[in-house]
Every structure is written in C-alpha cells, then in structure tokens.
C-alpha cells in the first residue's frame, strides 16, 4: 500500500465531465477535440450511488460546459440529497439569475466561473465568443444575488500573467471569495497553442514569486494555486494533504461514459466506474500506483525539492514526454 491508500480509502473529489460538448472554443481548452459517448440519467444516478458507497465527499462538474446537459440540475440534486458536496465550473454563458437560483435550490455548494482576463476584448477573443466576458460577470453577479458561493478560475498564460492583480480586483468587485490561479496544462488545444500561450520556466518562477507575495499580503480574498512545482519555492508555506500532484491521490476524473482517468489532463483510462470494482481500481491500478510513487528522473534526481515537489505536474510531464517521472517542463531549476 502506498502512503496515499493507507490514509485514503477513496479520493476526496471526483471531477466529473458529464459531456465534452461546449458552446465555446477556447484557445487553451484541453477537451475541445475529445469525443465520448454520454450516459443516460439512470446511469448517472448509479454513479452517484457508487460515490456515496465509497464515501467520496465532493464532486465537481466540469467539461465541456456542464450547463449544456439539461439534467445537470437533477443529477446534482440527487447527489446533494445523498450527502455529496456538489460544485461546478462553468463559462457562465448560460448562468442567468434563474439558473443561479435553480443551482442553489438543487444544493450546489459553490460555482466557479472561468475568466481569463479583466480586459473584455481579450477574454472574448481568447474564448472565441463575443459577449462572453459580460455573460461571465453577469453569472458572478447572479450567484452573489441568490447567495450561492462563487469562485473565479483563471488559467494563467501569456495573455494574463502580468495582469493577475486586475483579475483579483475583478473578483473583489463581483463578490467572489476565492480565486484559483490555475497552471497551464498543455493538453488538447492548450498543447497545440503551447508556443503562443505557455510561459518559459523562468517566467513561471517570477510569476509564482510575485503571486505568492500578493497572496501573503491579501486577506480579503482567498488565492489558490494548483501547481505542484510551486512547492519547490521556499516562499510557499502551505501545508498540503499530499505532496506533488493531487491527481490519483486526492482526486480522480470521470469521463462522460464513466471511464475513470487520474485527472482530466491525463487521458489514460484506469477503469470504468460502472463496470469495474472501484476498490480494485483505487488500490491496485498500476497507473495510479505509478503516479503516487514517482521516481526522481533526470534533473529531479538529487534535487533538494523533490520531496515537496515530486517532479511537479505529472500531467504536464506526461503530455510532453509520455513519462510520468520526467521533470515538469515548467520547472526552472
């Protein structure tokens, strides 16, 4: 047993893609070119039953655009009534006040909206959708109005890394309590547009140093990062539940057909939640074991930060080299 499975009998979170369909075609999207059959409502309910049985406390709907599936409300209600804590990430296009109220009524605990730039024209062109900035803000305001907790997600890339403070101000202005500054993953369209969007390792280092300094001076807004390579910085003092990527350790991802992958950015199927025994997947999958027990390779061997950083983001290493153990291409060491 690895340290992870000794402690956790199941993940804490399932990131659940109900559908890869979306009304947008964003430049950094990991899933635009994905195709996958979707499940009928009864099968979605069966999935929730498995999650309840396994005591998974959180599900977060992503996609694709979750609101594209009209039965999102019903499945969320079924899950929250069964005791699960339900949240989602949306582009906000379909989130008017009535939708926000309905999300609250069916038991959503929080809703995250993606905003990539505080410059409306830049956000719209990045998302290839005129008017999307206005709609995203309308979504945040609607959530605030109905009293449903909102978060803001921004994938850091070349278009916004120097203007992240403006994104934080935007969040403040629209009643958001928490901002996720996500790391750029190099999957799907993000991989194809990598040359244009990704920062150099040195730029990543400078960005994180700056963003951490801002985080330490900020107390009216929670600023969160999800990039394991940040743990190599002495300035990073957060106590995390696990070291390195949390995928396959604290969280797993569900594809629209019930296939399980370690995360949305690693397209390796470890089993199917409806057809396979979940505990066998969780405890015995060779892929999950490999992700939980990474071996320092290349420049990571001998790196003093390996204990904390674990080679950085496994999805990024895998996307660029096909090997979980290679150093994260964002690493500046």
């Amino acid at each position: 047993m690895s340290e992870v499975t000794e402690m956790f009998s199941a993940p804490l979170t399932f990131n659940w893609t109900l559908s890869y369909r979306c009304n947008f075609t964003c430049d950094h999207c990991y899933s635009r070119d994905e195709e996958c059959p979707e499940l009928a409502f009864d099968d979605l309910k069966r999935i929730v039953d498995v999650l309840v049985e396994q005591q998974v406390p959180f599900i977060n709907f992503g996609g694709g655009e979750p609101l594209i599936r009209h039965d999102l409300y019903e499945i969320a209600e079924y899950a929250s009534k069964a005791g699960l804590n339900v949240s989602m990430n949306t582009n906000g296009w379909l989130l008017d006040e009535a939708a926000a109220q309905r999300l609250k009524d069916v038991g959503f605990k929080s809703v995250g909206i993606s905003i990539d730039s505080s410059d409306p024209a830049l956000h719209d062109s990045f998302r290839n959708m005129p008017g999307s900035y206005e709609r995203a803000l309308r979504g945040l305001d609607a959530l605030h109005k109905v009293g449903l907790k909102s978060t803001m997600s921004s994938v850091i890339s070349r278009i916004n890394y120097q203007a992240f403070r403006e994104l934080l101000d935007l969040a403040r202005d629209h009643g958001v309590g928490q901002v996720y500054l996500h790391n750029f993953k190099c999957s799907g369209r993000g991989f194809k547009n990598r040359e244009d969007l990704d920062l150099t390792p040195e730029e990543w280092q400078a960005f994180y140093l700056e963003a951490l300094a801002v985080k330490h001076q900020t107390d009216d807004l929670k600023i969160s990062f999800d990039d394991p390579v940040i743990a190599s910085l002495p300035e990073y003092q957060e106590k995390t539940m696990v070291k390195g990527s949390s995928c396959g350790k604290l969280s797993l991802h569900l594809r629209p057909n019930g296939d399980i992958t370690p995360c949305g950015f690693i397209p390796v199927v470890v089993g199917n939640i409806l057809n396979d025994d979940f505990e066998t997947i969780w405890f015995d999958s060779p892929v999950l074991k490999a992700m939980r027990n990474k071996e320092a390779t290349g420049k990571c061997s001998g790196c003093a930060a390996f204990d904390d950083c674990q080679g950085g983001c496994t999805a990024r290493a895998f996307a660029t080299t096909g090997d979980f153990n290679q150093p994260d291409p964002h690493c500046w060491k």
Partner: protein, 104 residues
C-alpha cells in the same frame, strides 16, 4: 444537558479500512501507528482523529449526552464507564473550543 453536535460545516468520513485495521491490531495486541481513522475537512485543511477520538466524534450527533457517549465507549472497550468519562469530557471540550463541535 450537554449534547455535542458535529459542526455541519465540517466534511468528514470514517476511513473504514483503517478503522478495521486499528481495531484488529488492538485485539491482537499488535503495535500500530495511532494515526487517523476519521478525517475531517474544513476549508481545504485536513485533520485526523485517532481511534478513540473518531469513535467519540461519530457519536456526536446532538442526541447523545456525554454520559451516553462514555457509556458506549466503555461498552466498546469493556472498561468501567467512570474510566472514560473524563477523557470524553476533555476531548469534547477541546473540539468545542476549536469550533468543530457545537453544544446543543
């Protein structure tokens, strides 16, 4: 009457495999690391409760008094209720102070 209730803001679960392992080890007298059998999650932080703490926590449903809880615990470990009463009171007081339990 003091009937402790778990703070509903806290998400928690019993780590069943771990709990079974610890209980088994206890029976056979085997040494086992006294780490968490119940995990509590609160605003992105995780806390763990050991076997005894976890068993007390599971009973803090706002329906049972400290005496009831101590009684259950004494039964579980076949000891006198008076032997565990002060431990239960201390544990509940500590968690109440942290805001994890609410006294009804």
């Amino acid at each position: 009457m003091n009937k402790p209730l778990r703070n509903p803001e806290i998400v928690w679960r019993v780590e069943n495999r771990r709990q079974t392992e610890v209980l088994k080890a206890l029976e056979t007298g085997e040494e086992i690391e006294d780490s968490g059998t119940v995990i509590l999650l609160q605003s992105g932080m995780m806390h763990q409760l050991n076997l005894i703490g976890g068993l007390i926590w599971q009973q803090c449903d706002g329906q049972q008094s400290l005496t009831d809880i101590a009684g259950e615990l004494a039964k579980e470990f076949t000891v006198e209720q008076s032997e565990v009463e002060s431990d239960v009171a201390e544990f509940v007081a500590d968690l109440t102070e942290r805001g994890w339990l609410i006294n009804e």
